[in-house]
Amino acid sequence: MRVFISSTVRNLASYREILRLALEESGHTFLGMEHFAAQPSPPLDVCLAELDTADVYIGVIGDNYGSSPPGEERSYTEFEYHHARAHGTDCLVFIMRDDALIGLDTHDHDQHRRELLSQFRETLMQNHTVDRFSSPHEVAWEVLAALRRLEMRRSEAVPDGANT
């Protein structure tokens, strides 16, 4: 499957790297902004265009709301989530536990952005059954297991003989 990983990057770089390895070794294609080459379009357009090619959206939500496109309040991560929902892409959401093994100084110091993050988490928890994680390897396991369940559900939904 083509798997779009949506998360902040600066504070979750090692999480994304472990996820990339685990996904690729499992035969999936990792889609993420790390691989975007220089293009004339704005970063958000490039992100959303790549997301449109994905079979599934994976939201990995940490303790940082993340950066926003110029002139926008909503973060790239939140833009990506709403875009995936609007286009009917399956969304799997993973939220970091408070005791997560992450550097001490990665959370938002800006109170307003902390509130935006809190609201975003609330939205995600209302819309989805989320998994929790504390480490890169734990979220890798959870993502692989969730993808397997999704694969099996999809394969069971295909009527007999549909592929012949």
Binding site: I18, R20, E24, A140
Partner: protein
């Protein structure tokens, strides 16, 4: 002071695709590394104990070619620094040859796979499958010095530069110094991608309130540009590299104090 000769990592899980539904879930070893002094991004490299020569993906190779890596026909050579699980520098393995490979039919591939030649040849790997972890043990000569708790911690790139300069790689060391200096800049300056001397100077001077430190940063940046872009006769001397190292530490310490 020296650090431990062993470092332990978790194994990375993998679940085969649905068409292999009866294949068992498996684990594989991967470690965080940095390639060369100029490219500061941490990459998780897969370890393949059956691979004679390490491999890097074509896309990564193209990127590295723009940042001063050696090229020998179809192979590349890069200094590999192995990091601990917490991403602190642990081993300086030295120059490792890489075969450049293109993984046809895949959208992406592992950018780096580490094999035997000049890498695993130096190391012992012990797997602990019940704990889903593995431990690498290395010879003492490859271990990077541990930071003293009483010192202000320097960015990893500066520690790497110190070792490179000590080993006689003055140009690479100076290039790494500027990377370390950029990492130490206040977070408010993140997002500005310029690494020009004037940009650095203004940020350092305004952050520390000391224009002399801004000038020092300018000289470090100028020396780095000479190291990276200069001709054969323009490479930094040992004295210049050592002076730049001291200057970089001075600027970083001042930035830390003013933070």
């Amino acid at each position: 002071m020296t650090s431990s000769r062993a470092s332990t990592y978790d194994l990375v899980p993998a679940v085969p695709p649905l068409w292999g539904r009866f294949a068992p879930t498996f684990y594989f070893p991967a470690i965080p590394v940095r390639l060369g002094p100029e490219w500061s991004q941490v990459v998780y490299a897969r370890i393949d104990v059956g691979l004679p020569i390490s491999q890097m993906d074509t896309s990564l190779s193209h990127h590295l070619m723009t940042t001063g890596f050696a090229s020998y026909g179809a192979t590349r050579a890069a200094n590999v620094t192995v990091l601990r699980a917490d991403h602190s520098p642990w081993l300086m393995v030295g120059t490792v040859p890489f075969e450049v490979v293109q993984h046809f039919g895949e959208h992406r591939s592992h950018p780096v796979t580490l094999g035997f030649e000049s890498f695993l040849a130096y190391l012992r790997i012990t797997f602990n499958f019940p704990k889903r972890s593995f431990t690498i043990t290395a010879p003492q000569r490859l271990i990077l010095p541990l930071r003293s708790e009483s010192q202000v911690p320097m960015p990893d790139s500066v520690l790497e530069a110190e070792r490179l300069i000590a080993a006689g790689s003055y140009s690479s060391g100076v290039a790494s110094l500027l990377t370390g200096l950029m990492e130490a800049l206040p977070s408010s300056s993140f997002g500005v991608s310029s690494s020009s001397a004037s940009y650095l100077s203004s940020i350092v001077a305004s952050s520390t309130g000391d224009p002399a430190l801004g000038d020092l940063a300018t000289r470090i940046a100028d020396l780095r540009n000479r190291a990276v872009h200069g001709g054969e006769g323009e490479q930094p001397s040992e004295a210049e590299a050592r002076t730049a190292l001291k200057a970089t530490k001075k600027v970083i310490n001042a930035l830390r104090r003013s933070a």
